[in-house]
Amino acid sequence: MEGLNIPLNHILLVSSLLFAIGLLGLMIRRNIIFILMSLEVMLNASALAFVAAGAHWGQPDGQVVFMLILSVAAAEVAVGLGLVLQVQRRFKSLDMDNADRMRG
């Protein structure tokens, strides 16, 4: 292996950190755009973990899954942005707390 030799642990740490940041954003942000972005962060955190794992063990599976995650993220953004438009139209705001009509 050439180039930088970063230990797996570090990468996994960064990945977990990213995942935690995304999750925290998901939990505390009310703006739907930020929620979507937090989701992206989480997806990419897991993708990073896959890539790092694939590189560490010299397997191609990690990169295959990364490609899959990338396409899932693209599809998710397409649906998500449609949702954003709907929310904006219906509630005249992007605050997701307004969309609580399904409360018990």
């Binding site: 999750l23 998901l26 939990m27 505390i28 009310r30 929620i35 609580d100 399904m102 409360r103 018990g104």
Partner: protein, 611 residues
């Protein structure tokens, strides 16, 4: 002739049904003819039967049809006719007819004219069934029938809720006695296997000895029924309130006929009572205490009808006393004479009330002697008979009772003494009534005098109250012969003298005012005693505390449905849980995520902890 006996009861019943169905279509004249006429026909038929019977005094029994049949229990609708039945039927149809006639004038301005006569005729029918029945079950039918009619007629002016209350009280209090009586009938049927009155007497004598406990129990239960219906202690409280009904109703039901049904019942089942001497003493003591208690109460009343009501209770007490000492025929004799003079007094008071703008308070009357002469003489004769002044009808019957009570071994003289005190009080309160109402100065002017439909019954009843004592009732065959020895002369003389003393006291105190009682009445102790007597010895108050109030509080407790509390608790717990859980479903995505994360952490912690 004998087969016609059924008609006597069914003609008034038919007329009652006609009046109920055709109330709207009949004119007032035809209602009057139907109501009075049906009882008149019944009276004529009774008279014919009576003449037939007196010529050939043979008791007979007619079964019309079988009422019901369950296994070997088959009570029939059958009538038994003997001297006792004849006396009762004559009183019911004869006095009943006069009261019906009186009613046509008394009720002429009432809008419910047809309803009144429908009830009254139904009452006559039920009362006739009661006295003619040959078995106790049919008797019970009549017994309950008169109870219903009494309820309907006491509450006749139902727009006033106080009348409805009085009617319910009359119905419920007598129902307590009726329950005891029903238990007595059940006992007799299970023990003796029949309810036929004649067969019952034979079977009881065959099966039981004098002094056995079973006849004692049966007799006490039947006494319970009689006490309720005849307004004796401790179930007498309904009768004074029953005066809420129209006055002719009080005369017919609450003086002459229905309230004496208890006396009839005990006389009819006398063969059972002869087997239970203790029950007979109980009857005598109930009668004596009631008679004294009611006489004291009557002394202090102001309402003319309440005076007469308490007087009725007191006089029925005398009849019970007679039955209790075994003076059966004297008791029935007093029943008959009492029906005459008390109906007379009640109709007289009805005439006063009718002509005096519905005034009931005797101290607002006064001086009516010259203004209402017919009524005055009715009251004079009625009160004389009630007080048992010599040669009036009440004298003969009450004298018989007192003398036979005296002869009872053991407690006889005490019973006689108690009866004498009652007779003294009776004379005082009845003539207090006469002197206050008819003498002195007039406080209220009558706006009319009695018409002929009131005057004729009053006059005829005057004759009966005066001369009824000479009638010899044909009950010698029915009852065992009482001891014929006469007590000492002084006993008889005292018995005659005491009512005269009572009248003299009333004369001095309420007419000539030589006996100054005002100071005595104003004394604090006397005031207390007076208000105690006025309230009927506080018995209504006592029952109110003992039964009515606790019942109400129990009802209030049960109204909240305490048994359901447990189930309501479960329901409320579930509702709270539901509320609490549905709070969690806020619809806000962030919270869902947070809770999912929380759950994840917990799961992870468990995994880590377990691993």
């Amino acid at each position: 002739m004998r087969e016609l006996i059924g008609l006597i009861a069914f003609i008034p019943l038919l007329s009652s049904v006609t009046l109920m169905l055709g109330a709207e279509r009949l004119s007032r004249i035809s209602i009057g003819f139907l109501g009075v006429g049906s009882v008149g026909v019944a009276a004529l038929l009774t008279a014919a039967m009576g003449i037939d019977f007196l010529a050939n005094p043979q008791p007979f029994q007619v079964t019309l049809w079988t009422w019901m049949q369950v296994a070997d229990f088959a009570p029939g609708v059958g009538f038994y006719f003997d001297g006792l039945t004849l006396v009762m039927m004559s009183v019911i149809t004869g006095v009943g007819f006069l009261i019906h006639l009186f009613s046509t004038e008394f009720m002429e301005e009432d809008i419910s004219y047809a309803r009144y006569f429908a009830y009254l005729n139904m009452f006559i029918a039920a009362m006739l069934i009661l006295v003619m029945a040959d078995n106790l079950l049919l008797l019970y039918l009549g017994w309950e029938g008169v109870g219903v009619c009494s309820y309907l007629l006491v509450g006749f002016w139902y727009q006033n809720s106080a009348n409805g209350y009085a009617a319910r009280k009359a119905f419920i209090v007598t129902r307590i006695g009726d329950t005891a009586m029903a238990l007595g009938l059940f006992l007799l049927f299970t023990e003796l296997g029949t309810l036929d009155i004649q067969a019952l007497g034979v079977a009881a004598n065959h099966r039981w000895q004098v002094g056995d406990s079973m006849p004692l129990l049966a007799c006490l239960l039947i006494l319970g029924g009689a006490v309720g219906k005849s307004a004796q202690l401790p179930l007498h409280t309904w009768l004074p309130d029953a005066m809420a009904g129209p006055t002719p109703v009080s005369a017919l039901i609450h003086a002459a006929t229905m309230v004496t049904a208890g006396v009839y019942l005990i006389a009819r089942t006398h063969e059972l009572y002869l087997l239970a001497p203790i029950a007979m003493i109980a009857v005598a003591l109930v009668g004596l205490t009631t008679s004294l208690m009611a006489a004291f109460t009557a002394l202090t009343q102001r309402d003319i009808k309440r005076i007469l009501a308490y007087s009725t209770i007191s006089q029925i007490g005398y009849m019970f006393l007679a039955l209790g000492v075994g003076a059966w025929s004297a008791g029935i004799f007093h029943l008959m004479t009492h029906a005459f003079f008390k109906a007379l007094l009640f109709l007289g008071s009805g005439a006063i009330i009718h002509c005096l703008h519905h005034e009931h308070d005797i101290f607002k009357m006064g001086g009516l002697r010259s203004r209402m002469p017919v009524t005055f003489w009715s009251f004079m004769i009625g009160s004389a008979a009630l007080a048992a002044l010599p040669m009036t009808s009440g004298f003969f019957s009450k004298d018989q009772i007192l003398l036979q009570a005296y002869q009872m071994p053991g407690i006889g003289p005490w019973l006689w003494l108690g009866g004498l005190v009652g007779a003294l009080l009776t004379a005082i309160y009845s003539f207090r009534l006469v002197f206050v109402v008819f003498f002195g100065q007039a406080n209220t002017e009558p706006d009319r005098d009695t018409g002929w439909r009131m005057a004729v019954p009053l006059t005829l009843l005057c004759g009966l109250a005066l001369l009824g004592g000479w009638i010899i009732i044909p009950v010698a065959e029915v009852f065992p012969v009482a001891g014929d020895q006469h007590p000492a002369l002084w006993v008889e003389l005292v018995s005659i003298a005491v009512p005269l003393i009572g009248v003299a006291i009333a004369y001095l105190a309420f007419y000539s005012r030589q006996l100054r009682i005002d100071g005595l009445l104003k004394a604090p102790v006397m005031q207390k005693i007076q208000s105690f007597w006025f309230s009927g010895w506080g018995i209504d108050w006592l029952y109110d505390r003992l039964f009515v109030k606790p019942y109400y509080s129990l009802a209030r407790v049960l109204k909240a449905e305490p048994v359901d509390a447990l189930y309501n608790f479960i329901v409320r717990l579930n509702q709270a849980l539901n509320h609490w859980l549905s709070e969690g479903q806020s619809g806000q995505m962030r919270r869902y995520i947070a809770s999912m994360v929380f759950g994840l952490i917990v799961l992870l912690a468990i995994l880590v902890g377990v691993l």
